[in-house]
Symmetry: C2
Subunit: 248 residues, 2 copies
């Protein structure tokens, strides 16, 4: 699986699974290399297949799974070419509310955060160099296709990444569980805001925390803190923060 992960990204491919996701990927403009599906999917997907030159391989479910190397829940796969990502500068040119993810390693969390961001009107997502791939199969699935709906870019360099955003006029808000930080609802927003979220276990790096314009927190219940429940998972925290970011 690790081999497939790295091959997919290096060779510029990704896999879309299931009719709905395939439709959205094709509709977003990703070129299709090939399809692999059980016979029963030919008819429902015929409108998509008919307009493309890509080869369609038809096989029984067991063969589809054997070729894919994972459990195929929806019987239809497409292999697509990635499109070149924009630079961070180009990505954020017209954006006012963006999300910046530092080193999230869990594909499901990345997918879930894209879904939150898209649903709540965040305009773009910037990934740190080591952040998990939004086009990995599990990210796509958990995002419900939001990885196709919201534009994103990857910083080429972790050290310089935030400088680029600041130069573009973004106010950098670092979300931290530290209850000494400014409560999110009380933080001044401004014209252009970048909300920074850190990795699942460790949160934001101290370097990024220090570079932020302001550290912000979601106030936790005092009872919960005394019971040892002192933080939210990154998706819950991100959802609350994206929602707060959009207040007038």
């Amino acid at each position: 699986m690790n081999l497939r992960k790295s091959l997919e990204a290096e060779q510029g491919l990704f896999i879309a699974e299931g009719e709905k996701v395939i439709r959205r990927a094709v509709g977003t403009g990703f070129p299709v290399r090939s399809f692999l599906m059980a016979h029963r999917w030919l008819e429902p997907l015929s409108d998509v297949l008919d307009t493309l030159d890509a080869p369609v391989y038809v096989a029984d479910d067991a063969t589809v799974e054997g070729v894919a190397g994972f459990q195929v829940h929806r019987g239809a796969l497409a292999s697509l070419e990635r499109l070149p990502l924009p630079t961070v500068e180009d990505l954020v040119t017209r954006a006012h509310r963006i999300l910046v993810l530092e080193d999230l390693v869990d594909h499901a969390n990345v997918g879930a955060l894209f879904r939150c961001a898209a649903a709540l009107g965040i305009e773009a997502v910037v990934l740190s160099p080591r952040c998990a791939d939004p086009l990995y199969r599990r990210s796509i699935k958990v995002s419900m296709g939001a990885v196709f709906a919201i534009p994103y870019a990857r910083m080429p360099n972790w050290h310089e990444g935030l400088g680029t955003l600041r130069a573009s006029g973004f106010r950098l808000l670092a979300l931290t569980p530290d209850q000494a930080a400014v409560p999110l609802d009380k933080a001044p927003m401004g014209e252009r805001v970048a909300l920074m979220l850190g990795s699942e276990g460790d949160g934001l790096s101290s370097r990024w925390l220090n570079e932020a314009d302001e550290a912000v927190c979601i106030p936790m219940s005092a009872t919960a803190m005394s019971n040892g429940v002192d933080s939210l998972n990154v998706v819950a925290a991100g959802a609350i923060a994206c929602h707060a970011l959009l207040r007038p």
Copy 2:
């Protein structure tokens, strides 16, 4: 696995996995039936083991996994007795902000929502009769122990369940993706509020929606809606709603 799930609940048992969770379960007052762990855990857990009469079975990791029937990540397990749950009436006597979960089937989602609820100061959780078990191993793990920190009860009867809450003076808010509902931030709260969340796929049943005092929604981005991203997952939505519930 289904056998284990039902046996656990029927026989009044549950399993705590890992030093931290075991400590919290024991600290919460659940009686321990037995421990099963690799030798290396005897020393770190000695303060807990020494105060209890429960037998401690020591085995190598492979045997622990073999007995457990699942992958044991942390090498230490405890089998504990459930305590009787309070009635819904007793549970909510002094609560002002509660969460009501209807038929969530995913243990990870139940665990994540308990974590949100506890961290954000929700005082109690009421489960519909068919809602997944908060003391199932995965729920406990994802909740980071919050299932021990926040009291909960299970409605004996789905039809009558909301009536009990209304009789206790709760205003019933039904969270729905329907954008025609009142935006959550604009809904009047009041002294006692019960926030209702529905199942992962279908949301709240129409019966419960109709019985609610008000249907509330989290406003979605118009762009996202046109891109087909028209909802949040139940944990993200629940996190935002719990946070909103606690506004002054």
